[in-house]
Structures are given as C-alpha cells and as structure tokens.
C-alpha cells in the first residue's frame, strides 16, 4: 500500500490550477502559430496574433490568460493500491483550488446553487472524476473551463442507422451554432458511444489530449482530420469574425455502446484551452 497524504494532493492541485490559468499549453500555442501562418484573412491573422501576445503577457505578468478562469474539472487517476491519508480526498482537491485561485488572483466563477445563484466565493466545488485501476499510480489533471465555450456543447442520441454520416452532421452543426461565442479557434472534443453521461465524459476526455496527437486508431485519426477539414470550411474563423481557422483540432474518443444506441457528445474548448497535470 502506497500512502499519499491529503496535504500533498492539496499542494499539487494548487500548483496545477496556477499553472493552467497562467500558461497556455505548448501544443495550443504552436497550433495557434501554425494557424496564423496559414490564415489568409488579415483580420483573422491579427486576432490570432493578439491571442498569442496575450498568452505571452499572461506569463510575463503572471495574470490569468483569460478572465473566465472557469469551473474546474479535475480527473484523478489512481491505483487501487494507493491509500489516501490525512483527510478527505475531495476536500483536499477543493482546498487546493481555493488556495490556487486566491493566490493567482483568479476570478471566482462558481455559484453554489444553480437556481439560487449565489457566488461560492472561492471557485469551489470542482467537478471531480476518479478513475481507479490496478497499480499504485496517482495523477491529477485539472481542466478549468470557461462558460463561453462550455455553454455551446451539445449531446445527441443518434439512431445507429445514422452512423458516421450522423456524427459528421452533428459535429459540424454544433460548431456552426456556436459561432463566435466559444472563442474560436476551437478544440473540438467528440465523444462517441457509451451511454448519455459516458459520451459527454469522452468528449471532455478528448479535449485533454494535446492537439498535435491523433487518435491511435487509424480510422478515428482519419475521421479527426476529415472533421477538422469540414469544420474549417465553415469560414467562422477566430472569434467567429471570418477566416479559415475555426478549429485547431478535432479530438475523438469512443466507448462501447448498446445495440440500440449511438450517443454523440460534442464539447467545445476555446483558444484559451487550459489544462495541467502532475503525478505524485
């Protein structure tokens, strides 16, 4: 049994939320640079230049890349041979977020009740997922996500007969309807299969994969490239103000499903896609 103390978890979560909100991941920066080079519309180019300048300024001035520092999704992958000591694991995660958001001067963007809508005052609670498997590993991934892009995600339960064609149509529709709201250039996360909540979870998981990495399965890698082409033909461009750079990548994850189901979830993430991971 490997022991991990809640204090370690709290400190790691704090470091991760600080890093995520202050530093755009390298794969996103490179993808934005490449998109800006390829882009033909002068406005789109200058908008992406501002986004890249902004990312640099955030690091220099230690200010949040985007003011919407989001609701934080945290994924903890842990081995079944890990024993957590010194408190409650979920409380440790929330304590790390509370500390990180205070120290980083990040915005408190969480209301404690969806209908009463009173700000919780410390950006907690997080949405926490635990994935337990064999071994004694322990990793934390934080994914603070703003509402502009989160609000534009959609889920549909297709008929299996609609197949790949239905998936294509749905992905393009979601991106089109999002327009400028989700702050393109986007990362498009697509979850196919499972049941209702698993499709959504897969779409989110897809967003955590770096944009320069294609799915290991050839057919899905090809579908990712094809969908990116279709989405970029929409012409929405950065901020929805026109251009070819509507998305930086389409990432797909799949899961086995029921003989009568074909759930498809699309989660959109903005050019300020922020994520950070660490292992204990």
């Amino acid at each position: 049994m490997r022991e991990i103390h809640c204090e370690q978890i709290k400190a790691a979560v704090k470091d991760c939320v600080l890093k995520a909100n202050l530093e755009l991941p390298g794969d996103i920066v490179i993808a934005l640079q490449e998109a800006a080079e390829k882009e033909e519309s002068p406005r789109a180019r200058s908008l992406m230049k501002i986004m890249l300048d902004n990312a640099e300024m955030a690091i220099q001035q230690q200010m949040a890349v985007c003011q919407d520092t989001g609701l934080v999704a945290v994924t903890i992958c842990m081995g079944q041979d890990v024993h957590i000591v010194g408190g409650d694991i979920s409380e440790a995660v929330n304590a790390g977020i509370r500390d990180g958001y205070r120290e980083g001067w990040f915005r408190q963007s969480v209301v404690s009740d969806p209908l009463e809508r009173i700000n919780s005052g410390d950006n907690t609670p997080a949405v926490i997922h635990y994935e337990v498997s064999a071994g004694d590993h322990f990793s934390i991934t934080v994914f603070p996500k703003g509402a502009g892009s989160e609000n534009m995600g959609q889920l549909t339960m297709l008929k299996p007969s609609q197949g790949l064609e239905g998936v294509r149509e749905f992905v393009v529709k979601v991106v089109k309807e999002a327009g400028g709201n989700a702050c393109p250039p986007l990362v498009v996360g697509v979850g196919i299969g499972g049941n209702m909540e698993m499709a959504a979870y897969m779409a989110k998981k897809a967003l955590l994969r770096p944009v320069d990495r294609r799915h290991p399965k050839n057919e899905l890698a090809a579908l990712e490239i094809e969908l990116l082409g279709l989405v970029n033909q929409l012409g929405l461009g950065p901020q929805g103000l026109g251009g070819e750079s509507t998305a930086l990548a389409v990432n797909i994850e799949t899961y086995p499903t029921h003989i009568a189901c074909l759930p498809v979830a699309v989660s959109l993430s903005c050019h300020a896609t922020r994520r950070s991971s660490c292992e204990l």
């Binding site: 230690q62 200010m63 949040a64 890349v65």
Partner: protein
C-alpha cells in the same frame, strides 16, 4: 476596413457613422456589467427607480474581470458572451445607451432596438484578458459591490480595440460570415464528403 478612434460619451451621429467591419479604438469611460448587474438594472427600470448611471451616450462592456493583482488596476478583463444579455438590452437602448462591447452574435430584438435608437455592437477579442486589461487605466466601483466579479464598474480605457460587429443599420458581421457559408457551392459536400 478603417481604424477609427472614438471617445465616449458618443453622440447619435457619431454612432450612426460607424460601419460593420470598422476597427475602432475607444478612449474614455465605459461601464462594466454582465448578467447579474443587468438583472438588477432591469429590475430598477421595472420598479421605476433610477439606474446607478445614466446610459445616455454611454457604452457597456460585458465583462466580469479577475481581481486586480498587487500593482494593477484590474485583473484579466476580456469580453463575455453577449447573447446572455439580449433580454436586458432593449430597455437600456431606449434610455440612450449608444453601444455594447462583447463577443458573439445578438438577437433580432436587440438589432431592431439598435436600429431604432442608434447604437452599435462591438466585438472585442474574447480570451485576450491580459491584453485588454492593459488598455484599462482606472477602475471605479459604481454599484452592486456585493456581486463580486459581477459588480457594476466604470472603466477608463485607452485605445481599447474593437471591431464593429453590428452597425446602426443592422448590418451584422456574424450574419455575413454565415451567409458566405450558406451560398457556398460546397455546402452539399460539407455534409456528404467522404474521406
């Protein structure tokens, strides 16, 4: 594409001279307000009370900034999605509001009210929170401090960059982008193409 400088407060003539696609740099004071502050303002209007500021000639920036770190007047401060304020906007336009700054498209009711009363809708770069915060030189609380990041603030801006997304004639950049798609000869392919 023209770059123009504008200093608030704005007259109806100034606003009516702006055309969709124009690039603008704003100087002067603008008001920061988002969902909760709008809800309060509309409640005031409904109850016949005074608004915390006179919208005549002014601009509202849809933003909920990060708190100011030491040595700064404000934290990251990029625009939020404007569509959530659609329901609250026409009564403010009736009271002389000359413009809104945000990101994303507006409803037809807002566009109609903009045409009628003479107002523009400007897009700022979403997600460029640090870049835009640097153009904000001072911040004064105006009302609703208890709303935290959603409080109503008066911001003094210098060379604050925006694009005219919808002008007083109702010409709409988002619609133009969409229309380009709808008349595209590739539209069929868009859905049928196989790899």
């Amino acid at each position: 594409m023209v770059t123009r400088r504008l200093t608030t407060p704005l007259t109806e003539d100034e606003v009516r001279s702006l055309k969709v696609g124009d690039e603008i740099l704003i100087d002067g004071y603008i008001y920061a307000a988002r969902d909760a502050a709008h809800k309060r303002m509309i409640t005031s209007i409904e109850q016949g009370q005074q608004l915390p500021f006179d919208p005549q000639g002014q601009m509202i920036y849809y933003v909920g900034p990060c708190p100011a770190p030491p040595g700064k007047v404000i934290g990251s401060a990029g625009p939020t999605t404007s569509g959530r304020m659609d329901a609250y906007t026409p009564p403010l336009l009736e009271r002389g509001l000359r413009g809104m700054i945000g990101k994303g498209d507006r409803s037809q009711a807002v566009v109609d009210a903009m045409k009628k009363h003479g107002a523009v809708y400007l897009a700022a770069v979403g997600g460029a929170g640090v870049y835009l915060a640097e153009r904000i030189v001072s911040v004064d609380p105006v009302a609703y401090p208890e709303l935290g990041p959603e409080a109503l603030l008066r911001l003094e801006v210098r060379s604050f960059p925006c694009v005219v997304a919808i002008d007083c004639e109702g010409k709409n950049i988002y619609e133009q982008v969409r229309r380009k798609l709808d008349v595209s000869p590739n539209k069929e392919e868009l859905y049928d193409e196989k790899p």
